[in-house]
Amino acid sequence: MREHLVLILGLLVLVYMFVPIFVVVLMSFNDPASRNVYRFDGFTLDNWTDFCGPQGMCSALWLSIRIALLATGVATVLGTLAAFALVRYHFAGRSASNLLIFLPMAAPEIVLGSSLLALFVATGFAGQLGFWTIFIAHVMFCLSFVVVTVRARLAGMDDTLEQAAMDLYATPAQTFWRVTFPLVLPGIVGAALLSFSLSFDDFIITNLNAGTETTFPMYVWGVAQRGVPMQVNVVGTVMFLLSVAVVVTGELNSRRRRSALT
C-alpha cells in the first residue's frame, strides 16, 4: 500500500482534473426545470437535437471556427518557416530572435491584449475592431507556440537520414520533400492543433480586440451572467470528444508506423 501511495495520490489529482469534464458531459443532457441552470433536473436529448436553439450561439461558434482556421493556417506557415531558420541556419541575432519568440508566451494575456488595443487605438483602427483585428491578435499569440513546437521536433531529428538521401544524389528539393518534410510533419500537425485550440478558446485577448463581434468564448461569457443555455455544454462535450479522437488516431498512427519499422 505504501508502495502505491504516490500513484494513488497522483491518480486522485487526475480525477480532480476530470470532474468538470464529467459535469459538462452530464449537463449536456440536462433538462432544466427552472432558471437555475446549475442543477441537474432531468434527462433529455433536446440540447443535442436543438443544437442551434439559443440565439447567437451558432453564429458565435462559426465565427470562432473561421478565425481559428485562418489564424492557424497563417501562424503555422510563418512559424514553421521560422523554426527551420532557427534550427538549420546560422545568422547574427539568433538569440535575440529566440527571445522575441519566447516573450509572447511569457507575457500575461491581459497585457498582450491591452497593448495590442493601445496600438489599434493609436493608429486609428479603434473604429474598425472586428474580424481582422481578432485575426491579427490570434496569429500573434499562436505564432510563438507553433515555432516552439516545430522547433522541438526539428531539433530532436536525426539528420543522418537527410545526409543519406543526399549521398544517394537526391537534389536538395527532393531531400526536403521526400525526407525532411514527412519527418517534421507530425510536429507541424501538432503545432496546428495546438494553435487552433488556443485561438478557438481565447477570451481575454479577443474580448479586448473584438469590437462588436462575438466569438464563442465571448458568447459564453455573456450568457454566464443571465443563465447558460445547456447547448453550451454540448459544444464542450463535442470539443472534448473530438480532441480525444484526434489524440487517439495520432497515437494509433504512430504506433502502426513504429510496428511497420520493426
Binding site: 497522483g10 482534473m17 491578435a137 474580448n207 453550451v232
Partner: protein, 301 residues
C-alpha cells in the same frame, strides 16, 4: 544532433558549418515573416501601451489624447486599484504553490510509478484542456454550488458552517485558478522528472539514505528546472487571469485583469488602463527575475 565532421559535404546551395547549420541568406528569409509579425504586433504594441499610459487623462476617445508625459497616471492608478493588484499577486502565488504540490505528485507518479501507462496518463492530463476554458470554469459553479454535493459534505464534516458557502469566496477563485493552470505546471515537471535516471535514486538508497533524504538530496534538485519553468508558466497567467475571479468569485474577489479590461472597454479610460497594464507587466518581470536568480537556473531563459 549528430556531427557531420568526417562526412564529405554534399553540394548544397548554402555552406554547412561544423554544427550542421547552414549559413546564407535563406535563413533570414525564412525567419523574416514571423519576425516582422512579432515586431509589428507584439513589440510595437508595447511601445504604444507605454505611450498611452503617459497621455493626458483629460483626453477622450472623441477629442483624442495629448502626450504630456503624465507620470501621475501611475500614482492615481496605484492608489485607486492597489486592492485588486495586490489580490491578484496573492491569489496567483497561492494558486501556484497549490499547483506545485498537486502537480509534483502527479508528475512524479507518472514519471516513476506509472510504468507503461506513462504516456496514456500524459494524454489524460492534456485532454480536458481541449474543452473550452469558459465552459469548464462554469462547471465549477455547479460543483461548488450552495446546496451541491461538495458544500453539503463539508457541512456534514463540520468543515463549513451551516450557512457556509464556497461560491463567491476566495476559496472558489483559487480552486478555479489551480484547476485551470495545473497542466502548465505538470508538463514541465514531468519533462524534467522523466529525464532523471532512476538508478541515481537507487544509489542513494543503497547508501542507506532514507527515502525522504533521497528525495530531497537527489530527485528534488534534479527536478528544479521543471519546478522553475512550471512555477513561471503557472504564476504569470494566473496573476493576469480574471475569468475565474469573475465567474466563481464576487465583487470582493475582483482581480487586476478585470479592472484593466473594464477601464479599457467600458470606461474608455485608456491612460489609466494602460498604466495599470504596464505596471502589471513590470511587476511580473521584476518578480520573475528575482525568482529565477534565486532558483539559480538562469540558463532556462
Amino acid at each position: 544532433m549528430t556531427s557531420t565532421a568526417g562526412v564529405a559535404p554534399v553540394a548544397v546551395t548554402d555552406v554547412r558549418t561544423e554544427d550542421g547549420r547552414r549559413r546564407g541568406k535563406t535563413g533570414y528569409l525564412l525567419l523574416l515573416p514571423a519576425l516582422l509579425t512579432l515586431l509589428v504586433f507584439f513589440v510595437l504594441p508595447f511601445y504604444s501601451l507605454i505611450a498611452t499610459s503617459l497621455y493626458d487623462p483629460e483626453g477622450s476617445d472623441v477629442a483624442g489624447y495629448e502626450m504630456t508625459f503624465h507620470f501621475q497616471n501611475y500614482w492615481s492608478a496605484l492608489s485607486d486599484f492597489s486592492g485588486p493588484l495586490v489580490r491578484s499577486l496573492v491569489y496567483g502565488a497561492v494558486a501556484t504553490v497549490i499547483c506545485l504540490v498537486l502537480g509534483y505528485v502527479l508528475a512524479y507518479a507518472m514519471a516513476f510509478k506509472a510504468g507503461r501507462w506513462k504516456y496514456l496518463l500524459l494524454v489524460l492530463v492534456i485532454a480536458p484542456f481541449f474543452t473550452s476554458f469558459l465552459v469548464r470554469t462554469l462547471s465549477w459553479k455547479l460543483i461548488l454550488a450552495d446546496d451541491g454535493f461538495v458544500v453539503n459534505t463539508l457541512q456534514f464534516l463540520q468543515v463549513l458552517g451551516d450557512d457556509g458557502r464556497l461560491l463567491a469566496t476566495p476559496v472558489a477563485v483559487i480552486a478555479g485558478l489551480v484547476y485551470n493552470f495545473l497542466p502548465f505546471m505538470i508538463l514541465p515537471l514531468f519533462a524534467s522528472l522523466d529525464r532523471i535516471d532512476p538508478r541515481l535514486v537507487e544509489a542513494s538508497s543503497d547508501l542507506y539514505a532514507h527515502p525522504f533524504v533521497g528525495f530531497f538530496k537527489v530527485t528534488w534538485p534534479l527536478s528544479l528546472p521543471g519546478v522553475v519553468s512550471g512555477t513561471l508558466l503557472t504564476f504569470i497567467p494566473a496573476v493576469g487571469d480574471y475569468i475565474n475571479a469573475q465567474l466563481l468569485g464576487s465583487t470582493g474577489q475582483r482581480m487586476i485583469g478585470s479592472v484593466i479590461q473594464s477601464q479599457f472597454v467600458e470606461a474608455n479610460n485608456y491612460p489609466a488602463a494602460a498604466s495599470l497594464s504596464t505596471m502589471l507587466m513590470l511587476l511580473i518581470l521584476a518578480m520573475v527575475l528575482v525568482y529565477v536568480r534565486r532558483a539559480g537556473t538562469e540558463e532556462l531563459l
